[in-house]
C-alpha cells in the first residue's frame, strides 16, 4: 500500500486542490492557503522519491528547505496582504489590480 504511486497520487491530489483554491478564491489569504497546499504537495513528492529511490536523504533536505521557504513566503506574503489591507481596506484580489497599464 505504501508505495511511490500512492504518494504521487496523494501529492497530485493536494496539488490539484491547491490550484483549485488558488483560482477559485478571490480572497488573497485564501489564495495563500492554496499556495501552501501546493508547496506541501511538492515537499511530499521529494520525501517520497527519496524513500523509494536511493534513500540518501537529499530529498528530505529539499523538503526541509521547501518548508523553510514556505514559512518565509507565508510571512512576507501575509505581510504584504496586511499592508495592502491597511491601504485599501480590502483583501479582494481584484482590488489589487492597480498595476494595470
Amino acid at each position: 500500500m505504501i508505495n511511490l504511486g500512492s504518494y504521487l497520487g496523494i501529492s497530485f491530489a493536494l496539488f490539484i486542490c491547491g490550484i483549485l483554491v488558488m483560482i477559485a478564491r478571490k480572497n488573497i489569504i485564501a489564495i495563500l492557503l492554496g499556495i501552501e497546499l501546493i508547496l506541501n504537495a511538492s515537499a511530499l513528492n521529494f520525501a517520497a522519491y527519496t524513500k523509494f529511490s536511493n534513500n540518501n536523504l537529499d530529498g528530505h533536505i529539499l523538503s526541509l528547505f521547501i518548508i523553510v521557504t514556505a514559512a518565509a513566503e507565508a510571512a512576507v506574503g501575509l505581510g504584504i496582504v496586511i499592508r495592502f489591507f491597511q491601504l485599501r481596506e480590502s483583501i479582494h484580489i481584484d482590488d489589487a489590480a492597480s498595476l494595470q497599464n
Partner: protein
C-alpha cells in the same frame, strides 16, 4: 545503522484518539444528563451585562502580526538548528567541531541581526503607539 518499526507511532495515534474520546465522551455523557434549556439572554456574548455592540471580529493591531512574524522566523530557525545541534557532539568528537561551530555561529548571528533590527526599529515594543502619540504631542508643541 539501526532501523525502527513504525509501531513506535502507535502511542501517538492512540493518545490523539484518546484525547478525542475523553473530550467527546465527557461531552456526550454530560449531554445525556445535563439540562438544556437555552434562551436568548443566555446565548448572548458576555459584555459585563451590557448589550453586545457589533461583532468581536474586528480588526486588531498589527503588532500581533509582527510578533507572529518574528516567531515564525525563529521557529524555522530552530527547525533547522535541531539536526545540526544533534550532530554537534559527534562532530566535536571527530574533530570537526570548529567548522561546525563557525557555521552555527554565523547562522545564529545572521538571524540575531534580524532580531536586533526589529528591536531597534521598535517592532518588539508592545506599547509603541503610546510612544508615537507622545512624539506627536511633542511635535504639536
Amino acid at each position: 545503522m539501526s532501523t525502527f518499526n513504525l509501531d513506535v507511532y502507535m502511542p501517538v495515534v492512540i493518545l490523539i484518539a484518546l484525547a478525542m474520546l475523553v473530550a467527546g465522551g465527557s461531552l456526550l455523557l454530560g449531554g445525556l444528563i445535563r439540562p438544556h434549556n437555552p434562551n436568548k439572554l443566555k446565548e448572548t456574548a458576555y459584555e459585563c451585562g451590557e448589550e453586545p455592540i457589533g461583532s468581536a471580529w474586528a480588526n486588531f493591531n498589527v503588532r500581533f502580526y509582527v510578533i507572529a512574524l518574528v516567531f515564525i522566523i525563529f521557529d524555522v530557525e530552530s527547525a533547522l538548528m535541531f539536526p545540526v545541534a544533534a550532530v554537534f557532539k559527534k562532530f566535536t568528537q571527530i574533530g570537526l567541531g570548529g567548522t561546525l561551530l563557525v557555521s552555527v555561529f554565523s547562522f545564529v548571528l545572521i538571524l540575531v541581526a534580524g532580531l536586533v533590527y526589529c528591536w531597534k526599529k521598535g517592532d518588539l515594543d508592545w506599547i509603541k503607539s503610546f510612544h508615537s502619540q507622545a512624539n506627536y504631542a511633542k511635535k504639536d508643541k
